[in-house]
Amino acid sequence: MLSVSIGTIIWTSIAFLTVLFILGKFAWKPILKAIQEREESIELALRAAENAKKEMENLQSSNEKLLNEARIERDKILKEAREAKELVISTAKGKASEEAEKIIAMARESIHNEKMAAVTELKNQVAVLSIEIAEKILKQQLSDEDKQKKIIDNLVKDVNLN
């Protein structure tokens, strides 16, 4: 063990250096290269995933923004529509009441006219009737002589007084 043997040294040197060469060329080089390449590809994949995640977040936030904008737009449109509705209703109401007023005015006028016509008619009727009544009264009053005389007298009396 503790004595150094030339044979062992020579065999060890030859065998070890040969194996070092063989493994270095055909094992360690491809293995280390493969490991490094795999590590790089994994890192690349991780970075891509990270990017995708970030992009996704961006997309999500932009979606949110778009949604917000749409909501605001909708609110605006709704508000405008409500305003338009109110405007239409109010104008319609105005027009309607105007029309109604007009109609009422016309009605009132026509009622007035009718009334006036009726009154005139009535007046005419009354005049005719009063004439007829007066005629009948006169006919009755003047049916006897006394009464005629008395009227004349009264009339004459009045004249005298004048």
Partner: protein, 366 residues
Amino acid sequence: MTKFFAGLSALFMLLFSSFSGFASGNSEGKFNAGEMIMHHIQDAHEIHIIGDFAIYLPVILKSEKGFEVFCSSHFYHNKKTAAISVHENQIKNIEYFEHNGFALFHEKIYYTNEQGELDFDEHGHPTNQAVTIDLSITKNTAGLLFALLIVTLVFLSVAKAYKKNVNKAPKGLQSFMEPLILFIRDEVAKPSIGHKYHLFMPFLLTIFFFIWTCNILGLIPFLGGLNITGTLSVTAVLATVVFVITSINGNKHYWGHLLWPPGIPLPIKFILVPIEIAGIFIKPLVLMVRLTANITAGHIIILAFVCLIFIFGEQSATAGYGVGVGSLFFMIFMNFIELLVAFLQAYVFTLLAAIYFGSAVEEAHH
């Protein structure tokens, strides 16, 4: 879980039988714990599996006659005994193995004399000349080649999996190895070295998985008690590679601070510079010694618990069984600790190597 523990204890029981085989094979009769432990952590020319069954490894020697290649079974099947006289009238028998003009004693190979025998002095040391260049595939060399083969096959298949499912989640073996690879890259290389870390990744990954595999192999029973990373020769090579890579990649800033530290009075420079120069050698030496010592110590502790059983067993069988139960639990505990140490030492070696590389490529920032 109970199944798991039953299996584990069965394993240990088998392990004891292999040790007892060794113990009974000792002709002296008396059980020598120190010898037994040293024998097990030492390198060998065979992989001793169990009992008499062993895998014999090739012996490769460079002698005056040229290269000699033969199977180590020739040694192990030809045991010889030499009788030497220690002091007066005391005879000691020493065993060694012999084959074709070579002798194997304590796993070291010597030339034999004309009679084909090994001579010893009165201390029991061989007086023959040792073979200087022994290129045998020893137990630990075989274990090391096996570990490297496992690491190569595993990571070539993992690399194939990466090529097959590009940019997909890892599967199977790939998904087991990826956290470890990422651990070395993100927790060891990047903080210690800085932006030039990719230059050193192949080395750091290879050394981490290699040391870990070797440490684990050393914990598996029936593999002859491999002690790969506990062998100084192996860790010396690893430390040398670390030293060479650090020195080659050392930039102007590194060498400048080492050889002529700025902003320090001249007399202190004469003290500091030798220390710094010694430091560049001490650092890899420390790497080497730490790994060897930690792994060997783990093996020694586990073996010591095994030895306890035999030491008490020699007194009485009852004591042997009693201690055996206690030892078993301690061994199970130590094996779990060693599993952690196996990872930890691989990590520490890799981390320190990365820190040395980091200091070599650090840019001036003042």
